[in-house]
Amino acid sequence: MALILDLLVQGAQMAVVLLLAPLLTGFVRKIKARLQRRRGASVLQPYRDLARLLRKEAVVAENASWLFRAAPYLMVAATWVAAALVPTFATGLIFSWSADLIAIIALLGSARFFLALAGMDVGTSFGGIGASREMMIASLAEPAMLLIVFTLALTAGSTQLATIAELFTRPEVGLRVSLGLALVALVMVAIAENGRIPIDNPATHLELTMVHEAMVLEYSGRHLAMIELAASLKLLLYVSLIAALFVPWGLALPGTGGGAYAVGLVTYLAKLAVGGVLLAVFETSIAKMRVFRVPEFLGAALMLGLLGTLLLFVSRSL
Amino acid sequence: MNGLGFDAVAAVLLLPLAGAALLAVLPGYRLTARLNVLVSGLTLAAALALVLDGRPEPGTYLLVDDLNIVFIVLNTFVGFTTSVFSASYIGHELESGRLTPTYLRFYHAMYQVMMFGMNLALVANNIGLMWVAVELATLTTVLMVGIYRTHEALEAAWKYFILGSVGIALALFGTILVYMAARPVVGEGMDAMVWTVLLERAAGFDPALVNVAFVFLLLGYGTKVGLAPLHAWLPDAHAEGPTPISAVLSGLLLNVALYAVLRFKLLLAANPGGIATGPLMVTMGLASVLLAAVMLYRRRDIKRLFAYSSIEHMGIIVFAFGMGGPLANFAGLLHMVMHSLTKSAIFFAVGHVAQIKGTQRMSEIGGLTETHPWLGWSLVLGVVAIAGLPPMGIFMSEFLLVSSTFARAPVLTVILVAGLLLAFGALLMRLNGLAFGEPKGATAPAHASYVPMFAHLALVLAAGLFLPGPVVAWFQNVAALLG
């Protein structure tokens, strides 16, 4: 019985992330539009976009290979699996032990790997530019992320997200400088990873500044839909991750019954909303930076991560 | 004296002498070359008989013991193989007009005189006799080096002669001093020059006198060993003489001189007040290794290159004996034997190469493994062996030497290792050009016999993997003898 319940929770989680992802994207867009004194499209617009794209035929460049067509599905799968393992409204997911935080980051890395390859498949200059910049950003963002993971894991003594989240709900963790540094660094990494301003602009088509859009330039139809979905999922994943790690309150612990799950779901939605608003405000209030300033930005994140880890050693030994 | 009914020691000495006399008068190169091989072969047989069939009692003049039997067998063996090589090699020299028939007759006679000299030096039980024999061998090689009578050959021979003569003089002075030291203890007369007697009574000698004697002997015979800074004659003598002589010089004469140094080292070790010979030998050995290693880099002449490599290896051997101890001495002996075999094999190969290409200049030789696979790969194998790479015999000796001395004298060993590496770098650089890359120069097949070269390399290869028990026991005895 418990197993079935657990399976249900896991299934619900998977469904929730898949369903909520476009909504979050739409929500952020809407808020941004309002902040820019536009009315903006409906928050449901991403769903409509997806549906439309799915219905359309896919136009594929003549020399595109099987990789070009397979990559979107692989990306969605990898991102989805990763997102499904991040506690959103409840911890103690049945399959959470199949991948820890490091594995989740690596799964996202897989998705990126295929995206970059897909960008290079047709053999256009824009695809290459995007792939090249994406990998440069990743080469800084991933180590920064891992250092953040180190900070968290060393604090919690575990790399299991569920364990960390549970531990952080307890009051004895308290406020720590290193955790603060980790939070700042994680936010910076999340911005970079999701291609948000000031790193990249998901709404741009100014060729020389784009990264993500350059890679997916040749995609259309259902393939593009998959890629958009994967991007939304990734955004959701990062917001959930930050929420689960730094504001874990309200997460339903295993075996606490339906009420707790309901509470967890509501708080989760609230956290998403807050995260979305903050992101929108941040994006609206800042200008995009030149590509070659990105390393400085991410280097700062990297340093913060390292500093957090080292400070942890200091505080531990005291 | 033994069961075979003939005196093997006498045979070892008289055969070359008789051969020399005969070769001096017989005409015709084919006949003399074969006779030369025959005589050398018989000498080898006599030496083997000496090993197998007991040894004569040490007399006033002659002695065969564990130490010199190694040298005798090696000497006669390489003498024999070189004569085989020479038989096919020298015909080409005649055809190409570098030698006239008269000189060829002279060459063969001198070859046997030289063998006689070296054998005599090895079996001598008398420091005076040994000195005479070493000088005889030296002087004959001087003549052989100059035999082409080109400007360069004469210059090399002259240099060899002058430096050799000074060495002769210094060694004689040392010999006189040894006699002077021995006389108060042993008494006047011939007894004071007999090895076996000297060694027995060495403890009573005047240390100061023995020390000075050793300095003179080390420098005198060391000149012939080719130790830096007394080495100057060696590269040119190797480079300008006929290749068989280069092989014999590197493979044998250096050993004979080294043998003399070792004998006197034993004498000094037996004297409580004598200076430590180890540091002197180690210093000179290291100097030779380093100097030769550095000099290898700028060589353009193939034979001179390997001549410097001989200096390097003599340095290693002297270093080993200078360090002493059972393992290092074993390594030194093994290294000496292996170096003789390998280096003469290399010179055989180099001789073939030089004849094919018509030059000794390395910039005009290339891609040998492509044009002459057997020769090219043999050269590769030889250089690989001489550089101390496995599975060849020199690897074993270098392994034993370096591994056993490092714990005792780390700094010295590191210097040695640096020298080895430097030398290896230079040799390999040249080998790359010689054996690999685009073929250069003439590609005509060689008409000479590769058998001696293969035989040497096979022996070296076998020794690197497996040393027969008796040989090992023999070496170990000698190593213990050397202290």
Binding site: A99, S132, L147, L154, T159, F313 | -
Partner: protein, 669 residues
Amino acid sequence: MTVVSLACVAVLLATAVVGMAAGRHPAGRPLVYGLGLVATVVAFGSAVAAMVAPPAAASEVVLPLGLPWLGAHFRIDALSAFFLAVVNLGAAFACLYGLGYGRHEEAPHRVLPFLPAFLAGMNLVVMAADAFGFLLSWEFMSLASWALVLAHHRDPENGHAGYVYLVMASFGTLALLLTLGLLAGPDGGYAFAAMRGVEREAGMATLVLVLALIGAGSKAGLVPLHVWLPLAHPAAPSHVSALMSGVMTKVAIYGFVRIVFDLLGPSPWWSGMVVLAIGGASAVLGVLYALMQTDLKRLLAYSTIENVGIVFVALGLALAFRSNGMALAAALAFTAALLHVLNHSLFKSLLFFGAGAVLSATHERNVERLGGLIHRMPATSALFLVGCVAISALPPLNGFVSEWLAFQAVLQSPELPQWGLRIMVPAVGGLLALAAALAGACFVRAFGITFLGRPRSAAAEAAHEVDRLSIAAMAGLGVLCLLAGILPGTLIDALAPAAELAVGGRMPAQQAVDWLTIVPIAESRSSYNGLLVFLFIAASASLAVLAIHRFASRAVRRAPAWDCGFPVPSPDTQYTAGSFAQPIRRVFASMAFRARERVEMPPPGDPRPARLTVEMHDPVWDWLYAPVAAAVGWIADRMNRLQFLTIRRYLGMVFLSLVGLLMVIALWP
């Protein structure tokens, strides 16, 4: 077991002789590779048997070879069994690949005799149980591979590569010789059995460690002793490159492990720091170098340096943990190292085979002249992709597992008592992460430029798929990469005896864990299940495909590339390898390699093309090797005057020596 393995080595040596005799004969290739394949497969089987069911007492075989009074000792314990398995697995695949690939070999007589000898040498190193046999096999291995590097000796670059290689190999061997000399002591206790358990003072242990690091590290390709590796590995025929990169570096790692973990015994705590620092530097610099390469095989060779660095980081952790008595953590780190050894041998062989296939199909190693091969070589490209994903440490393939274990080991560091280590380990962990991320970039670039896009040359345009045997070898390795990625628990358990031997501890048995998950310490701390991740990805991807094709559009229209509305037909407009690397070059290489870009822009009206030149300096070469070479050259020039002195001056030297020695005598106490 030992006897079987030795018999296999004997067969390999005999095969080398066969290769010598039949080198130019067309039947030589199948004969040599066939025999090699059989021998290595049998040897692999025997090694695996020794791992799975270790005999109660490791059997030692003594042959009357080598040092006469010692004999040649051969022994297979858990550690050597593992490395034997790695060696022979790689070797078997190389032979299989060679069966097909060898057809394109233009100089088979320079490959066939040496390849089996090379394999035999590697086997012998791992089995040897005395210092002499070990070094002999070690150097024999170098020598055989040197001959293979010179297989295409007419190319002057290969000649140079062979030269640098063998000199560095000799350097390493001499360092190892000193190491073993120290371990054996002046009385020559050359048997490994005699070296174990000897009390050594701290200074001695330090020296041994440093020398072993130099000796084995130079063979393994640790920075700064790596310079030969990117020259030599690509110069050889591709299956030999695979062996050199995938297997020989592992033998070098074995040498280090054997000496430092087994023979040396306890080492000071900071020894781990040295290894960590060098490993971390190698990992990052190696992959940075790789990112800058345009020669596909050289890129792979540099990536080997990175992976060796990762292994050494893990080994450094194991050393640090071991010297502090943390057996469990040490076992974790050590297992990570060994697992990465295996994994790297798998995917690096696969990638080199792929590069070889590309080379034989296009005669081109320069990626700037490749492209679009995914259409012409579908099987090769798919398998190469598997290798790329694996080496980029992405789940669910095997590269990720070992890196994940290494990270888990890093996370054990807070329990270390020493400050230095506690600060250093996380920093090195960061380097490891950086290396992994850069590896991803590197292999996106390698695969993307080589196989994707449009062909950049006529040769790439005319490429065709390679023979079936080559593909079979690559496919086998690809499958193994996946299996090792999704079933790591079995491997970890199989490695436990080796870890026990080296660090005196073992990881918890993974057999007992449900669902084939791996749990290094405890489930609450970390766990990973490659199988499940693989199944999830496969399931969700198939689900997405099915759902979309069932319920949404499945129509596809082929059209010209859009390219933002400006499609240019020339393939030259594609991103090149150089431009792909540019952002990373600007970020990292301007510091690490002093990379400078120079643009030559002709004035307006001048029809000449603008040129961008990139200038890079290898700091290691500039600051370490170039000065040494210059110094040797300078000394050689100075000393060379000694060749041209007059006789009088030579006499003067004799005279001065005499006077000097006499003065010594006069002053002798």
